[in-house]
């Protein structure tokens, strides 16, 4: 799954996802990716977010919507992402998931749920401070 957030220099924001879902899924199963507020969410007045991981769990908590609402209330992107992960963790401590967040000023962050097989999460950033796409990692 790819989840993407783009903030234009005019401040207009868009977000999107694309995936082929879960291996060996039961036919008809759709995860969080195409669900607005779950796979991704964008609002020019607050920011945008996108999620990836176990979509059957993630989609129940609308992680992207929740992260944007945290940023609307003034949380920085990293904290907004982390608070969403913590919310889900309370119910499903071993869920596989990560969220990327960006606010209207172009600040960004990410968070993930630590598992033995998932200690770090990689994401890509490109803004005008860079001359090429840069991979960043966040410790889960």
């Amino acid at each position: 799954t790819i989840g993407m957030v783009v903030i234009h220099k005019t401040g207009r924001i868009a977000a999107g996802t694309s995936t082929n879902g879960l291996k060996f899924k039961i036919p008809g199963r759709v995860g969080d990716s195409p669900v607005p507020g779950a796979g991704a969410y964008a609002d020019d007045t607050a920011g945008a977010a996108a999620a990836t991981g176990d979509g059957d769990i993630l989609m129940r908590f609308l992680p992207s919507y929740q992260a944007v609402e945290y940023m609307r209330r003034g949380e920085d992107p990293g904290t907004a992402c982390q608070k969403v992960i913590s919310r889900i963790q309370k119910y499903f401590p071993k869920f596989f998931g990560a969220v990327i967040c960006a606010n209207v000023t172009g600040s960004y962050g990410a968070a993930c749920n630590k598992l033995p097989t998932f200690p770090q999460f990689s994401f890509m950033v490109y803004n005008s401070l860079r001359t090429h796409p840069v991979e960043e990692k966040v410790n889960c």
Binding site: R12, V35, P36
Partner: protein, 181 residues
């Protein structure tokens, strides 16, 4: 705060990031940049988790999900369980542009895509077919069933809830005194 514009995406899918940035540099909108960035991963089958040829379902078919959201208008286009169309986010964009709906799913989403000019093609590849046959050979492990028989942690389906009698078992029909010839 970080300077704008900004492109951010999950996982180290660098070519997708580059394509989205390139779109912005060419004067495209944020929406166009998201569509073009994600479409790179659909073509390149990023990590086998995006696009055709990955994640076959229990029957061996690959289906795609995608969404795109405009943060200015709060307009959304999305497809779920899209069959036989490779450019899922392109179809999602058409849902956004040409309908007032948000999400189209399954075979009907495929019909919509074909009406928008998207080619219908097999989303399976040797790789996804091998994935599927290996899975069958491993007694369909892992799978996403529970509370059914046969035991899904050991056997393939078809599965049934324990309470349901087999179709060929004598079914106990309540005598209905009002139902008679």
């Amino acid at each position: 705060s970080g300077p704008l514009p900004l492109v951010l995406n999950t996982w180290p899918f660098k070519n997708a990031t580059q394509a989205a940035w390139q779109a912005l540099a060419c004067g495209d909108s944020a929406l166009d940049a998201v569509e073009k960035g994600c479409a790179v991963c659909e073509r390149e089958q990023c990590d086998g988790t995006v696009g055709f040829g990955g994640s076959p379902d229990e029957l061996g078919e690959t289906t795609l999900d995608a969404m795109i959201m405009d943060g200015t208008t709060m307009n959304v286009g999305a497809v779920g369980g899209l069959r036989r169309i490779k450019n899922a986010i392109g179809v999602a964009r058409k849902v956004l542009e040409y309908t007032t709906h948000t999400l189209l799913v399954g075979e009907s989403a495929t019909k919509f895509a074909e009406s928008m000019g998207f080619p219908s093609e097999d989303l399976s590849t040797n790789s996804s077919q091998t994935l599927h046959s290996d899975w069958l050979a491993r007694n369909c492990q892992p799978n996403y069933w529970r509370n059914v028989i046969p035991d899904p942690s050991k056997y393939c389906g078809p599965y049934k809830p324990p309470g349901i009698l087999k179709q060929d078992d004598p079914v106990c029909i309540e005598t209905n005194v009002h139902g008679h010839d």
